[in-house]
Amino acid sequence: MALSIGIVVVSFVLTHMVPGNPALANLGQNPTPSEIRVFDQRNGLDKPLPVQLGLYFVHLLQGNLGTSQQTGDPVAHDLSMAIPATAELAITSIVIALIFGVGFGLVAALRRDGVTDFVLRILSLVGVSVPTFWLALIALYLLFFKLGIFPGGSRLSPTDTAPPHVTGMYTVDALLAGRWSTFWDALHHLLMPAMILAAANMGLLTRYTRSAVLEVMEHDYIRAAKAKGLSRRTVVFGHILRAALPSIVTVIGLAFANVMTGAVLVENIFSWPGIGQYGYQSSTTLDLPAIAGVSLFIAVVYVVVNFVVDVLYGVLDPRVRVE
């Protein structure tokens, strides 16, 4: 809680102290002094910074994040539209990263120093080091432009309409409405950006899983599990992966927070109307309420994810459970 307040203050003050004049950024070339005064008054920019901060807190408690200068809508409304789009993308991408990253890491560790291990390690290194924007452009060129396997951006085909708003995630809403064709269309649009976002985390998870599993395999209790004559599957999943899970979960949590908040490039390249795109547009136009809103969202995501990881840690490892 105290952490959240601190984050609000820091993000608010920082965004308002950056050099640059929001009025000039928004009013086009050569606005008249009176136009600037009207703009500043309307957006509360004429008051001293501490007063602005105080007002921001008061409004925040009322659920009011201010009004975006860019869209003209309340920031809270803009965020509520952008968050589900990003969440849909982030969840899909983290599921992809988790399945392949943990799978690859486990296989690499079990086949340590073999050809498979070597290939998977190279693959994870590539995943971690290739810049996302480059990967996105290459994928766009090959899979959309050349091969036409995936659509080139946005959340739905122009011929389709958004399903009735329930969660804001098109795939889920389409399923809830029983609109199968819309579901497939939304999924089709979702997959390529999700895979591109997943690449780096997949590489990261492969490396972490591999080293966590290798460390666990050194332990006496794994040799003891083998000495009990347990099947290979039980030893690998019930004992080795089980013990490696807490450290893997930590990485997954951080990776999820990253894609929730850091999909700026991918969202822009794929015209994905999520937090990344919203944040990018508001910073290029110095849309201060929107920037503060996005910063607040990012802070909340990290606080929540860390909390969830801590709770999961207790569930997974009986030694850290409070009794």
Binding site: D220, R223, A224, G229, L230, R242, D317, R319
Partner: protein, 323 residues
């Protein structure tokens, strides 16, 4: 015929410059209902010999020789067949109970998972048997303990649980690798007494591995002393403790404190240190540290020969020299 016969066992581990021979032609036999001891310093190859019996050597280790258990050669068994021997026919107790139990699995799971796999018991039957075993190893509140985790117990209690885990499938042989070394001296006697009692009640055979000749003399029927991968002397425990005939056995015994004797006899350390397995000395491997060494010791490998109901690999009999 013996229950378990190991013939001319050799174990080579992969090393930086070619395979390293850590067990070099070892023979021993475990008789039905007896405790057979393998003694020696760390690095003498005793643990590797035991792991070879269970087929649990590190990856890429090579095994030569025969390990005959009830007429079957375990070295030739497939992994799948070997799994039905591990835990079911031959079980193992490890040195450090703080690390040999999986920290995230309950005691109930540790006791029942291989029991259910090997004997196809129902959950309820497995639980009943688990409670029985915990009672047998004198764990207070057996039923409640099933839901507890290893970190809820002290070292001594954990070793009792590990013993229960090893014995729950009624194996005919238990390999106990330094079962008391990691425990307080006061707890050691309790664990040894427990092992001895269980052996008598269940007609169990024990392959006891320890560097502690005091532990050895308290429960082993026969003992073989290993040095640098080879057996140097074997015979009935009491006989050997009173009249060691190999200079190394004698050295080990002189290094053992005898508080009950109460005399001023100083502890005598064996000079030097054991050879690295990568570079064993020629001839008798003990000759660089041996006070009785003669010229032939430096060139000829002494063979284990039968001398007065004992097997001895030394041309110089310290007893004869002293007399």
């Amino acid at each position: 015929m013996s229950l378990l016969e190991v013939e001319n066992l050799r174990v080579h581990l992969p090393g930086a410059s070619g395979p390293v021979t850590v067990v070099d032609g070892v023979d021993f036999a475990v008789e039905e209902g007896q405790v057979f001891g393998l003694a020696g310093e760390s690095g003498s190859g005793k643990t590797m010999s035991a792991l070879a019996v269970l087929g649990l050597l590190p990856r890429r280790a090579q095994v030569e020789g025969r390990i005959i258990y009830r007429g079957r050669d375990l070295v030739a068994l497939r992994e799948r067949e070997m799994r039905s021997v591990r835990g079911r026919e031959i079980a193992m107790i490890f040195q450090d109970p703080m690390t040999s139990l999986h920290p995230m699995l309950t005691v109930g799971r540790a006791l029942s998972e291989h029991l259910r796999q090997h004997l196809k018991l129902s959950r309820a039957d497995a639980q009943r048997r688990a409670v029985e075993l915990l009672e047998e190893v004198r764990i207070p509140d057996p039923e409640g303990s099933l839901r507890s985790y290893p970190h809820h117990f002290s070292g001594g209690m954990r070793q009792r649980i590990a013993i229960a885990v090893a014995l729950i499938c009624n194996p005919s042989i238990v390999i106990a690798d330094e079962p008391t070394t990691a425990l307080d001296v006061t707890v050691q006697a309790g664990i040894l007494g427990l092992l001895d009692r269980l052996r008598q009640e269940n007609g169990l055979s024990v392959l006891l591995i320890t560097h502690d000749l005091g532990v050895m003399s308290s429960i082993a029927d026969r003992v073989s002393v290993m040095y640098a991968g080879r057996i140097v002397e074997s015979g009935a425990t009491a006989e050997m403790m009173q009249r060691p005939r190999h200079p190394y056995t004698e050295g080990l015994l002189s290094a053992l404190p005898h508080p009950e004797a109460g005399d001023e006899r100083p502890l005598v350390a064996i000079p030097g240190s054991p050879p690295a397995p990568t570079d064993p000395p020629p001839g008798c491997r003990f000759h660089p540290r041996c006070t009785y060494a003669v010229d032939s010791c430096r060139t000829q490998v002494p063979q284990l020969v039968e001398v007065d109901a004992r097997r001895l690999a030394c041309p110089v009999d310290p007893l004869a020299v002293k007399v």
